[in-house]
Amino acid sequence: MIKKATITGLLFSSPFLIGFALFTLYPIGASLVYSFTDFNMFKSPTWVGFDNYRWVFQEDEVWKSIRNTLYMVAFATPISLIVGLLLAQMLNIKVRGQSIYRTLFYIPSIVPAIATSLVWMWVLNPKSGLINTALDYIGIRGPNWLLDPVWTKPALIMMGAWGAGGTMIIFLAALQDVPRSLYESAEIDGAGKVRKFMNITLPTISPIILFQLIIGLITYFQYFAQAFMVASMSNSGSVQTMAGPEKSLLFYAILLYREAFVDFRMGHASAMAWVLFVITSVVTYVIFRTSNRWVTYGGD
């Protein structure tokens, strides 16, 4: 006999479980199958074995997009985390107007991605943009941000850091939870600001750093909207390639989208999706497994 609690549990979970089956489990299976087929959505798929995976590993554009994406993952993730933590740390003191500052830091993070890109394309305009005008005043000739392949990704990283307010709010809540007594006893031991931050603040909030790090990594592995907008704007390279100057904005998710919905090569795109799945799983797993070296789960 099935226990009553089991039935209740199943009932309460059923909307989610049905959704999971329809929109996650089935698609995972189907995309695995598609990844071994030649499929353009108009004719039924034909089996091609590992051809699509061979394509993924041999195609220059895929490697280019992997390099571009890893660049964002490696720099944008930590920079956004550090900016978020820095802002939170600055706010975590009793100053008048704290909530006003907090609001001002937070607002950019709720500006929709498409609008963010648009604003920054204008702010970064090489001639009359805010940043290059400011650089001009101090005698620096600013780069041609979104048209120079060296500077396109740093520009996007800057955009990401501008939106670090969401991370900041979570870090701020965590910082406010660090027990005062810990700091007080450290002060008695003569610890300075830096040592208190390194020895008390960071270890105490390390579980949240881990969580934010993983969410950040996953976000940047799937980096799409902002780059898509910028890439279809920069006139070098037609809209169809969506790659930006010298393919410097050809990110993995953008190439995957192009293969699937512009060129209708569902097999290629599905193989790419599975490679992405494996990469993100491995990275997440490695971070989890090595996290016990720096994450402390202290009961307080």
Partner: protein, 289 residues
């Protein structure tokens, strides 16, 4: 002894004042950096095309050109797109707020065999890239003839699909509620559904409001979903509308900025109303630890 204490406290106090002043300077400088792009957006939206590239640059135009906004209205159906975006966002919020707390409850206060399994699935969906499910899901909707409608954007929300993060938030909050509360009600013979509806949900208003606001912000800004599923301009959401507007008007920055301002300002206004809720709610959840 007492003189030493007072000397110490005096030093401490002046040190505190100095430090406070310094942090105001820092905070103001950073605020300036974070707010300026938005101000730049707003002032550009009322510039004439002459002011746009003026040298030296003008910050605030002498003759504000409000017609830029009217021009946007002439080119794109702004009220229509705002309504579309609102509709999709509101329905998604309703869908998730109906279905997500149910599963969050099943993962926290119901003692059953699947409790941890379901929670593990929720976390698993958080880590799954959208790209893996994107293509088969698109093909399903295609076969059902629903591409070009709002169904693919809204219906999954009612089954909490893609809502892993919000389920996680809700579940973490539910875990902070005392078990005794639920047990006492059970001893009184209340059914799980009654406990859920009459005891749990009323206690969860703050966190539910927070989830609602976060989700509203996320769907309001969503780009990839509408890009995949909407193909008639009259159905476009603001993200998609702004994107296509940009493709046709990409040198008319003053009009682009006017459109971007109309897209962004409502969401900032919403944030001002929901601010306290949002921040309190984030403090309440276990997301922070």
């Amino acid at each position: 002894m007492s003189s030493a204490t007072s000397a110490f406290s005096r030093r401490f106090r002046t040190g505190g004042q100095y430090r406070r002043f310094l942090s105001h300077v820092l905070l103001t400088a950073f605020s300036f950096v974070f707010v300026t792009p938005i101000l730049w957006l707003l002032v550009t939206s009322i510039k004439s095309d002459k002011d746009l590239y003026a040298i030296p640059p003008v910050f605030f135009p002498k003759h504000p050109r409000w017609e830029n906004y009217a021009d946007v209205f002439k080119v794109i159906d702004f009220p229509g797109m705002t309504w579309n975006t609102f509709l999709v966002s509101a329905l998604s919020v309703i869908g998730v707020l109906i279905s997500a707390p149910l599963v969050a409850y099943a993962c926290s206060h119901i003692e059953w065999r699947g409790k941890n399994i379901v929670f593990a699935i929720v976390i698993g969906t958080l880590l799954l890239p959208y790209q893996v499910t994107m293509i088969p899901t698109y093909i399903i909707w295609g076969k059902l003839g629903l591409i070009g409608t709002y169904v693919p954007l809204v219906l999954p929300a009612f089954l909490s699909a893609g809502a892993g993060y919000y389920i996680f938030m809700l579940r973490q909050f539910f875990m902070t509620l005392p078990v005794s509360l639920v047990q006492a009600a059970k001893i009184d013979g209340a059914s799980e559904m009654r406990i859920y509806l009459q005891i749990l949900l009323p206690l969860c208003k703050p966190i539910i409001a927070t989830v609602g606001v976060l989700l509203f912000l996320a769907t309001w800004s969503d780009f990839l979903g509408p890009l995949l599923y909407l193909n008639n301009e009259k159905d476009y959401t603001l993200s998609l509308g702004l994107y296509s507007f940009m493709q046709t008007h990409y040198i008319m920055w003053e009009k682009l900025m006017a459109a971007a301002a109309m897209f962004t300002v409502p969401i900032i206004v919403l944030f001002f109303f929901a601010q306290k809720q949002l921040i309190e709610g984030i403090k309440l959840t276990g997301i922070k630890g």
